[in-house]
Amino acid sequence: MWLPSYATPSERLSRILVVGFAVAVLLFLIAPLFIIVPLSFSKDPFFTLPVREYSLRWYEDLFGNPRWFNAMVNSAVAAVLTTILATTLGTLAALGIARPDFPYRRAIMALLISPMIVPIVIVAVGSYLFFGQFGLTNTRAGLVFAHTALATPFVVITVTATLSTYDTNLTRAAHSLGASGLSAFFRVTLPNILPGMVSGAIFAFATSFDEVVVALFLTAAEQRTLPVQMFSGIRDQINPTIMAAATMLLTLSILLFVALALLTRKKTR
C-alpha cells in the first residue's frame, strides 16, 4: 500500500489509481448491503434513504406475521432435512468413489457434480415434471429431495478432498486391532473426515436455505420458503419486511461463512 520515499510522482499517481479502482469495485460489490441493512431498521413503510427514523417494526412483522414466520420455519426445516440427507448421501458417495478399485470414477464423479452445473431452471422444471408423477409437487418431501440433489455435490467435493489426505492404513490398523467394518468407520474414519463433512453440510444448508427457483416450482403456500415469500412479496406489495428478511438471510450467510473459515483454519493448523 505504502510506497517507499524514493517513489517517483508517476509511481505515486499509478498507485493511487490502482487503489482507487480496487476500492470502487469493492464498494460496488457490497453496496446492496449498505442499502438493505439500514432500510430494514427504517420506520417508514416505503424505501427512503437516508433513514429518517429507526425502528424494529419490520422485524416484529417478520416474526409476528404468520406468513413470514411460517416461511422462515419452512426454510429452516427444509434446509435441516436437506443437510442431513445431502451429507449422508454425499459422504457415502465420496467414500465409494475414493476406493482404489472403483470403476468409471471420473464419469460417475462428473454425474454426481452435474446438478451444480446444469442451469437451475432446468433442474426446477425437470423436478416439477418428474415429481408430479409421484405426487411430490407441493410437498415438503419433494422440495427436500430436489434441494438434496442440488446440495449433495458440495458434500461429495468437500469429503472427497478430505479423503484424499486420509491415510487408508488407519482403517486397516483399526481392523487389525479388532474393529469390524462399522466400528472402524465410526471410531476412526468418521472422526478424521468430519471437517470435510461439516464444510459440506454448511454448503448444503446454505444451498437449500437460499434457493428460490426450485422452491417456486415445487411449493404451494403451505411449504413456501423464505426466499419464495420474499420473491412474491416484492411482486405483490412493496414491504420493508423483505428488508428485514434479507438482513436475516445475510446474517445467517455471514455466520456460516465464519464457521467455515474457523473450520478450515483448524484443519490447516
Binding site: 486397516r172 490398523a173 481392523h175 487389525s176 486391532l177 472422526p191
Partner: protein
C-alpha cells in the same frame, strides 16, 4: 548345506509352525502373479524377515498374512487353522504399519487402549495394560499427548505398544523404520529385537534394508520376482548365497563369468574369461556346461604376499581407482580380461596403490562361491 537345514521344503516341515503358507499365489489382474508358489513356515517365537526390492512380493505376502489381501490360490494356516477367508479383525495379529497409522484424533493412551475394547477389557484393567505397554517402550509420561506432538521415533514406539498391548502371538511389521534417520533406526532395531525375545513373540518383518534384516532376524527370506530366492539364517545367507540375486542383494559381491573345468579335492575348478584357472567352493550345485559365475566378496580379496597357503587363488589386475574409507581401502581393479573387481583391503595391510599399476591379489577358494547364471 546350512540353508537346507533351515529350509522348509517338502518333508522337513516341523509341527511347531505358527504360520504356514502352502502353494500360495497372488495375482491382481489374473495374468501376472505378484506372489508365485509361496511355501513358508514361520516357527513359534521366531523373528523372520522378508527381504527384497520393491515389487518382489514381500509386502503382498505380509498383507495376505495380515488379512488385507486374499490369496488367489493356496492356503495360509495360522496356529493350525486355515485363515485365507478370515478378516483381519478376527485374526488377532498385531500389525505395525510403515507410517505407523496412529489415530490422529486420539491420545497416545487411547490409541494403545483401542484394541482392548474389542477384547472386553475395560476400566482399571485396561488402564493397567495400557500403562504397562507404554512402559515397555519407555513412553509412560506421554499417554495424554496426541500422536502429532510426538517425534517420529516416539510415534514408532506407540505403534509398537498398540500392536503388543493385546498380547498377540504374532506381530507383523511393514518397513516400520523406513521413515527414521539412520541412528534412530539402528537403535530401534535393537529395541524391537529385545522386545521380541523378551516377550517371546513371533514376528514377521518386511524390509528392503539388508543390514536391518541381518541385525534382527533369526531367518531371512529373500524375495525376488514373487519367489523366495533363499531362506536361511543371516550368517548362511551372507556366506553362502545360493544364487546370483542373493549374492548381489545381500552385501557386496564380485560376480565374474566363468566355465567349469572339473573338480579337485571337493573344489570346483573354473576357467575365467582370460583363461586363468581358479578354484571355488560350492561346487555341489554347479553342473558343467551352463552359465556360471564365480562370486567373491570384496573383503575376502587380499593382497597376495610371499607364500600363499594351499587352496588360495592368485590373480593379478590393473588398479583403476583407489578410495580411502577410514578403516579400509576400496580398490577397483580390472582383471580377467576386462572384468571389474572390487577389493576391500584393511588400511593396516595396505601399501600405497596407484591407478595404472599392476597388483597381485588372492582369495581363498573357501570364500568363493560358484553360482548359476
Amino acid at each position: 548345506m546350512a540353508s537346507m537345514q533351515t529350509g522348509t521344503h517338502a518333508g522337513g516341515r516341523s509341527s511347531d509352525a505358527l504360520v504356514r503358507f502352502t502353494q500360495v499365489k497372488k495375482s491382481y489382474d489374473g495374468i501376472h502373479y505378484v506372489v508365485k508358489d509361496l511355501n513358508l513356515d514361520v516357527a513359534k517365537g521366531e523373528f523372520l524377515t522378508m527381504l527384497g526390492p520393491s515389487g518382489s512380493g514381500k509386502t503382498t505376502t505380509l498383507m495376505m498374512l495380515g488379512g488385507f489381501e486374499r490369496p488367489t490360490l493356496g492356503q495360509i494356516m495360522l496356529d493350525g487353522k486355515p485363515v485365507e477367508r478370515l478378516p483381519p479383525e478376527k485374526r488377532n495379529i498385531g500389525f505395525v504399519f510403515q507410517n505407523y497409522a496412529l489415530f490422529p484424533h486420539m491420545t497416545v493412551a487411547e490409541n494403545v487402549g483401542f484394541p482392548l475394547r474389542y477384547r472386553g477389557i475395560k476400566g482399571e484393567a485396561a488402564r493397567e495394560k495400557v500403562a504397562r505397554a507404554l512402559g515397555r517402550v519407555s513412553l509412560e509420561a506421554m499417554g495424554d499427548r496426541r500422536p502429532a506432538q510426538l517425534s517420529g521415533g516416539q510415534q514408532q514406539r506407540v505403534a509398537l505398544a498398540r500392536a503388543l498391548v493385546f498380547e498377540p502371538s504374532l506381530v507383523l511389521m511393514d518397513e516400520p523404520l523406513g521413515a527414521l534417520d539412520k541412528q534412530l533406526r539402528e537403535r530401534m532395531q535393537i529395541e524391537i529385537k529385545h522386545l521380541q525375545t523378551s516377550l517371546g513373540i513371533t514376528m514377521v518383518y518386511v524390509t528392503h534394508d539388508q543390514s536391518e534384516a541381518l541385525t534382527m532376524s533369526d531367518r531371512i527370506a529373500v524375495f525376488h520376482d514373487g519367489r523366495i530366492q533363499q531362506l536361511a539364517d543371516p550368517k548362511t545367507l551372507y556366506n553362502a548365497p545360493e544364487n546370483r540375486f542373493v549374492a548381489g542383494f545381500i552385501g557386496e559381491n564380485n560376480t565374474m563369468p566363468c566355465t567349469l573345468v572339473g573338480h579337485e579335492n571337493g573344489l570346483a575348478v573354473v576357467r575365467m574369461a582370460d583363461g586363468s584357472i581358479l578354484k571355488s567352493a560350492g561346487a555341489a550345485q554347479a553342473s558343467a556346461g551352463g552359465d556360471l559365475s564365480l562370486s567373491v566378496r570384496p573383503e575376502n580379496i587380499a593382497q597376495a604376499d610371499g607364500q600363499p597357503a594351499p587352496g588360495t587363488n592368485l590373480f593379478s589386475g590393473t588398479v583403476t581407482e583407489v578410495f580411502f574409507l577410514g578403516d579400509h581401502l576400496r580398490l577397483s581393479v580390472t582383471a580377467f580380461a576386462g572384468q571389474a573387481v572390487t577389493a576391500r583391503i584393511p588400511v593396516s595391510a595396505a601399501r600405497g596403490f596407484k591407478p595404472g599399476e599392476t597388483v597381485h591379489l588372492s582369495c581363498n577358494a573357501a570364500d568363493c562361491r560358484l553360482l548359476e547364471g
